[in-house]
Amino acid sequence: MSARILTYKGYVAGWLDSSIHDFLEVLPVTSVSTKYALITCLDSNPDPASLREKSPELKSVARRSQVVGRGLLLPTELLLETDCRHQLFFGFDEVWFFPSQTIKPKPESASLLGPARLNQARFKKLGKWMVDNSCSLALGGGEGLNFVVPANGVAKFMLGYSIEQREPSLAS
């Protein structure tokens, strides 16, 4: 496999010129593998649990979320409803998806957050935790959208190659 493709066990990392908020518009509510969502960074704050009483945007989900480490775990259905009605994610956010709510806290030593794209060292620090908790999707916003998904076959190469995309040039 090309050294440019970042993998860990069955996972591959990629990058899209998009955002968590926009991606959530296409994520199906009914997916069993993404039934629960763990928010581990919100607007550059790596302690979303501390924002439950402070953030007006979090008010509607605060009571129905569970604290896991410094993160907030909630049903994905609730997350999608909320972000659609009152935008939660504006950039520099990190969200992980799981089939069950039995999740151990995310390691503090690494994150998917931008502006940098994921590298193998950061991926390795997160990989074991993702495998152990059956993580089905990971998203990190900042400059574009870092993602990690389980993939195999040709899909793994196609998704993995996305990390090589050039950054868009913005008009002044």
Binding site: S18, S19, D43, L51, Q87, F92, P115
Partner: protein, 83 residues
């Protein structure tokens, strides 16, 4: 797919750039230092416990660079970013 239109982390030294929403309203301003690296963001469209608008400093001593959690605007920032 909607493109992110995220502001670049490196720009023309001692300038600023703006990110606008679909209606053309400024939702974020990023200031660049003398070396062209982002120094501070001012976010206008969100609160998340830091007030609206609020600021984020950039820490380039970390690898990769990090945008720090939101903070209240300083008096000078308030003056320069009043609506």
């Amino acid at each position: 797919m909607t493109r992110s239109n995220d502001l670049p982390t490196v720009g023309t030294p001692n300038t600023s750039r703006e990110k606008r929403d679909k209606k053309g309203k400024v939702i974020q301003r990023r200031y660049y230092g003398g070396d062209g690296k982002a120094v501070v963001n001012i976010d206008y469209d969100r609160d998340h416990g830091a007030g609206r608008p609020h600021a984020h400093d950039w820490d380039w001593t970390q690898d990769p660079p990090v945008r720090l959690p939101g903070r209240s605007l300083t008096a000078a920032e308030k003056k320069g970013n009043s609506k």
